[in-house]
C-alpha cells in the first residue's frame, strides 16, 4: 500500500540514461538501420478510396534494372476469419492480413497493393510506377452518419452487425452496436431543471509523430526472421508478424530500434511483414520506409466521430441524468476506440441515471488506431462543453460544479466499473487554487475556459531482469520501448529499492529473444507496470544480496536488515556493508547475481486532469490565439517530474492542435487532400505559450510508490476547455472540431 514516504531517487530529476545518445545523433532509430547489401523497399498504394482489384501485373517492375523483388497479396497466404489475441485486445486475422496487402478490394486511398525492393529508394519508387493494377472503382462510404444508412455503399459486402452480442441478418457498415444503462434515465431527466443537448462532430486526426513508419528485415534461409523497426511493442509486433506470415512466433525476432514518437499509432504493423516477404524473395536485408504522405494516408489516425450528448441538472448544480449517442468511424476494418469513448464520456462524474448508445462504423478510410486516450477526447468535447453551458444557465462556477458532481471511490461508472481512489477533486482544487484561475483577463474578445479530462489507464504485462555489476551498479534489461523517458522512470524505481543512484542503473531495451514478454508502451501503463516489474526485480536482487551478506558474515539472513542502501547485521556483532561493497564481493559469495520479475497487475488507477485556458479570438480572421495555458493532473506519484510535466505539456499541445487546426480533409471521392505537414498543420513553437504543468499526487494504492500512468489524459481536456474559452470570449458555442478560423467565422455569422 502506498504511503507518503521520503524518497531518495523518486521525485528527483536525473539526466535520462539515453540522453547523450539522443543529443549527439548517435541514437539509432528504425530508419537508421544499415546492413551490407541492404535493399530499399517502397509500397504501391491504392489511389482510390474503394475499388475492386481486377488484376495486378508486376512483370514490368520485376524486369526493371535494380529491382530485386516485388510482392503482392498473392505472396501472402490467405488467412481465414480467426480471432487472435495479441496482448492488447483481440483482432480478426483476415482483416489484419488484408490491411497489409489488399487482396480483392482496396478499401481506402493509401491501401497497400504491392511492394518493391530495389538497390535504392529512387529505383524502388520508379518501379512502383511500372506495376499495372486494373481497378474497378466503387462508390465509397466516407462519413460516419452516411455510412450507417441502409443504402450506403458497403465497405465489406458480408459484414454483419454485432448487435449487442447477436449477429444481424443484413449486411451493414455498422460493425458493432452496444449500450450501457444505469438507473432510470427518464426519471433522471424529469428531475432536471435544466437539460442541454447538442450534436458534436469531430474530424479525423493523426498522431503526427515526426518519425515515419519503417521496418527492416532479414529472412534467413533457415526460416529465422529478424526485424528491426520502430514499434511501441516488440512482442506485439512479433505476434502480428508471426500471425500474418503464418510463421512460428519463436522464429521471429523483433529488435526494437529507438522510436520517434508513437502515441498509439505504432502498435499495428504495416511494413514489417512486407520487409520480411521482400527479404525472403530477394535473399537480402530489406529496409522499407513510409513517406509522410504514406503515414497520413495509410496508418491509423484517430476516428472522426458524431456524438450527441444530453445532460440534465438541477438548479443547485446536481447532474440528474446523462445520455450519449456515440458513432465512431472505424476505418476500413472494425475496431474504433468507441468502447473506450463509452468508458470516458461521463467519467469522472457521479451519474445515477445514464445511458450510452455506441456504434463502431466502417468507412472507406484507413483503419483507425489508438491515439493518446483514444476516444476520450472526442466525447469529452461534448460533455465538458455541455457542463459549461449548464453552469452558465444555473449561474454556477464550472469548477464548483465539478467538485459537487465528482465521482468518488466506490461510485460506479455508467459502463459499470467502480472507481478506485481517484484524484478528480484534487486536480479541480489545484486548478481553482492556481493563480491563473483568478487572474484578471482584460481586453476585448478574450475568454477563459476550463475542462476536465479522464482516462481509465490500463495495466498490461511486463518483465524486467537485473544483473548486478561488480562496481555496484546494475544493468536493467527491459522490453518496454522508450518513447518519452521511460528508461529513466523505470530505472529510478529499481534504484530506489536498492538504495543506489539513478545513474547507477544502466537500462537497456532489448529484443524479443532477450527479455520476458512485455506489452506495448501504451495505455499509460509503462511507468506503472514495467516500473512495477523493475520494483519486483529489484526486490529479488535485494533478497539475494541479503543471502550473500549472510554468507559473507556467516550469520542468518533473517537477521540482516537493508535500509538506505546499507546491509546491516545488528544482532551481536556490528557488521555493515553498502550495496557497492557487497556487489564487489559477489565473486566470493557465490558468483553472478541476477534478479527478475514478470508482472501482470490489474487496476492501473485512473488518471484525471483539469485544464484552464485563456484565448483571444480575432473576430476578423477567426483565428484563436492561446494566451495562457495551465494543466493540472494527478500523477499518483511523479517518478521523474520533468518527464511527467513533459507528458502533460505535450499532450495538452496535441489537444490544442486537435482543437484548432488539425483534421483530414477528404474530397467527395474519399481521398485525403492535405496529406503533408504543410496542409495538415500541427502546432509550432510560435503558436503557443508556455504550458504550466501542475502535478497533483494522489497515490495509486495499487503501486508501491503510488504511480499512475500520465501519458494519455492530458490530450482530453483541451478542445472542450478551448471551446468554453471561445464562448467566454465571443459568445458562440462551437460544436465541431477543429475550431478552425472558418468555423469560428461561421459561428460568428461573418461568413
Amino acid at each position: 500500500m502506498a504511503v507518503e514516504k521520503e524518497y531518495k531517487v523518486i521525485g528527483t530529476r536525473p539526466i535520462r540514461h539515453d540522453g547523450v545518445d539522443k543529443v549527439t545523433g548517435r541514437a539509432l532509430y528504425g530508419a537508421d538501420y544499415q546492413a551490407a547489401g541492404l535493399l530499399h523497399g517502397r509500397v504501391l498504394r491504392s489511389p482510390h478510396a474503394h475499388a475492386r482489384i481486377k488484376s495486378i501485373n508486376t512483370s514490368r517492375a520485376e524486369a526493371y534494372p535494380g529491382v530485386k523483388a516485388v510482392v503482392t497479396a498473392a505472396d501472402l497466404t490467405a488467412s481465414q476469419d480467426k480471432i487472435v489475441d495479441l496482448g492488447e485486445g483481440a483482432v480478426n486475422l483476415k482483416f489484419m492480413c488484408d490491411n497489409i496487402l489488399a487482396r480483392e478490394k482496396a478499401l481506402y486511398k493509401g491501401h497497400a497493393v504491392a511492394a518493391v525492393a530495389a538497390l535504392n529508394g529512387h529505383i524502388a519508387e520508379e518501379a512502383l510506377e511500372l506495376i499495372d493494377v486494373e481497378y474497378e472503382v466503387l462508390p465509397s462510404a466516407i462519413e460516419v452518419r452516411a455510412a450507417m444508412q441502409d443504402d450506403a455503399p458497403l465497405v465489406h459486402e458480408d459484414m454483419k452487425t454485432d448487435e449487442m452480442g447477436k449477429q444481424s441478418e443484413n449486411s451493414s457498415n455498422i460493425a458493432s452496436h452496444f449500450q450501457h444503462k444505469k438507473g432510470d434515465i427518464e426519471k433522471g431527466f424529469a428531475e432536471a431543471d435544466v437539460v442541454i443537448e447538442h450534436d458534436y462532430v469531430t474530424g479525423t486526426v493523426h498522431q503526427g509523430y515526426i518519425e515515419p513508419h519503417n521496418a527492416s528485415a532479414v529472412y534467413n534461409a533457415d526460416g529465422e526472421i529478424t526485424i528491426w523497426c520502430s514499434t511501441q511493442g516488440a512482442f506485439n509486433a512479433r505476434g502480428q508478424v508471426a500471425e500474418i506470415l503464418q510463421h512460428p512466433v519463436s522464429k521471429v525476432k523483433v529488435v526494437p530500434m529507438e522510436i520517434g514518437g508513437g502515441f498509439g499509432g505504432k502498435i499495428s504493423v504495416y511494413l514489417e511483414p512486407l520487409a520480411a516477404l521482400l527479404s525472403k524473395k530477394s535473399g537480402r536485408p530489406v529496409k522499407v520506409l513510409m513517406s509522410r504522405e504514406d503515414v497520413f494516408e495509410s496508418t491509423g489516425p484517430t476516428p472522426a466521430s458524431y456524438v450527441r450528448v444530453k445532460i440534465g441538472a438541477t438548479n443547485d448544480g446536481r447532474i440528474t441524468a446523462a445520455e450519449a449517442y456515440i458513432a465512431f468511424e472505424a476505418g476500413a476494418y472494425p475496431g474504433s476506440p468507441v468502447g473506450a469513448a463509452a468508458m470516458c464520456v461521463f467519467s469522472p462524474y457521479k451519474i445515477e441515471n445514464g445511458f450510452i448508445d455506441a456504434y463502431d462504423v466502417l468507412v472507406n478510410k484507413a483503419k483507425t488506431n489508438a491515439y493518446r486516450a483514444p476516444g476520450s477526447t472526442n466525447v469529452a468535447f461534448a460533455t465538458e462543453t455541455i457542463i459549461d453551458e449548464i453552469c452558465e444557465k444555473i449561474g454556477m462556477d464550472p469548477i464548483e460544479f465539478r467538485l459537487l458532481n465528482s465521482a468518488k471511490e466506490g461510485d460506479s461508472r455508467v459502463d459499470g466499473p467502480v472507481f478506485p481512489r481517484i484524484g478528480f477533486i484534487e486536480t479541480v482544487e489545484a486548478a481553482k487554487d492556481h493563480p491563473h484561475y483568478s487572474a484578471p483577463l482584460e481586453g476585448k474578445h478574450k475568454g477563459r475556459g476550463t475542462a476536465t479530462g479522464f482516462w481509465p489507464n490500463f495495466a498490461f504485462k511486463s518483465s524486467v531482469s537485473i544483473n548486478v555489476n561488480p562496481d555496484g551498479t546494475i544493468s536493467l534489461v527491459e522490453g518496454s520501448t522508450d518513447i518519452g523517458g521511460s528508461r529513466a522512470s523505470i530505472a529510478m524505481q529499481a534504484a530506489e529499492v536498492l538504495g543506489i543512484s539513478a545513474e547507477s542503473v544502466h537500462p537497456t531495451v532489448v529484443d524479443t529473444n532477450s527479455v520476458g514478454y512485455t506489452d506495448v508502451t501504451g495505455g499509460s501503463h509503462t511507468t506503472y507496470t514495467t516500473g512495477l516489474a523493475a520494483y519486483e526485480a529489484a526486490q529479488d536482487v535485494k533478497s539475494q544480496m541479503i543471502e550473500r551478506a549472510a554468507k559473507l558474515w556467516e550469520v542468518d539472513a533473517k537477521e540482516i536488515e537493508f535500509a538506505d542502501g546499507i546491509f546491516r547485521y545488528v544482532n551481536g556483532k556490528e557488521e555493515e556493508i553498502d550495496f557497492k561493497g557487497l556487489a564487489e564481493k559477489l565473486g566470493q559469495t557465490g558468483g553472478p547475481l541476477m534478479g527478475r520479475a514478470s508482472v501482470a497487475p490489474s487496476g492501473a488507477g485512473s488518471s484525471i486532469g483539469t485544464h484552464i485556458v485563456d484565448v483571444e479570438v480575432d473576430v476578423d480572421t477567426g483565428k484563436v490565439e492561446i494566451l495562457r495555458y495551465t494543466a493540472t493532473q494527478d500523477a499518483g506519484k511523479a517518478i521523474h517530474p520533468s518527464y511527467v510535466e513533459g507528458q502533460i505539456q505535450g499532450g495538452a499541445v496535441q489537444g490544442i492542435g486537435w482543437a484548432l487546426n488539425e483534421e483530414y480533409i477528404f474530397n467527395e471521392d474519399g481521398q485525403m487532400t492535405n496529406a503533408s505537414f504543410l496542409d495538415y498543420r500541427m502546432p509550432t513553437s510560435y503558436d503557443l505559450p508556455m504550458i504550466d504543468a501542475v502535478i497533483v499526487e494522489v497515490p495509486h494504492p495499487g503501486h508501491p510508490f503510488g504511480v499512475r500512468g500520465v501519458g494519455e489524459t492530458p490530450i482530453v481536456a483541451p478542445p472542450a476547455a478551448i471551446a468554453n474559452a471561445i464562448y467566454d470570449a465571443v459568445g458562440v458555442r462551437l460544436t465541431e472540431l477543429p475550431m478552425s478560423p472558418e468555423r469560428v467565422l461561421k459561428a460568428l455569422g461573418k461568413i
Binding site: 547523450v20 532509430y29 529512387h122 498522431q207 515526426i210 505537414f677 502546432p683 510560435y686
Partner: protein, 162 residues
Amino acid sequence: MADKVHVKTVINGEAVEFLCEPRDSLLEVLRDNLMLTGAKEGCNNGNCGACSVILNGRLVNSCLVLGAEIEGKEVETVEGLAEPNKLHPIQDAFLENAALQCGVCTPGFLMAAKALLNENPNPTEHDVRFWLAGNLCRCTGYDKIVRAVLDAAETMSTEVNA
C-alpha cells in the same frame, strides 16, 4: 540512371569526398552515403525540420538541398556539435531541461538553435519561438525546448564574457 557526381566538401570540419546521384538530396547523402544518420527524415519536403543542418553558416532543411550542391561548401551536422568528451552547451541544456522525449526531432532542433544563437546570442522567448517554428516536435509541446534554448543562450554568453 545518370552518372554519379563526384563531390568534394567539408563536413563538420573535415574534408569529405563522395559520389552521389544528381537526384540524391543532401539528407540522403548524409544518411545513406556517409552514415551520418543524426539528421532525420520526417517529411522530405521541408515542413518538419528534422533534417536541419547548417550549410555555409545558414540553417537549411537538408531534404531540400541536393547532395551535389554542397561541392566546395561547409556543412555542420549534429554529429559535429560536441567536442570530444564535452557536449555543446545547447546539448547540455536540452538534457538538463528534459527538452526531448522521443528525441527524433532533437538533432534538428539542436542545429536550429545553434544557428539562432550564432545570429542572435541573446534571444527573447518570442525570438526563440519564432526561429524554431520551422522545426516540429510532437512530444514536448515546445515548453522545455524553448527553456533549454534560453538557458543555453545564457550559459554561452556567460562563457563568452568570462
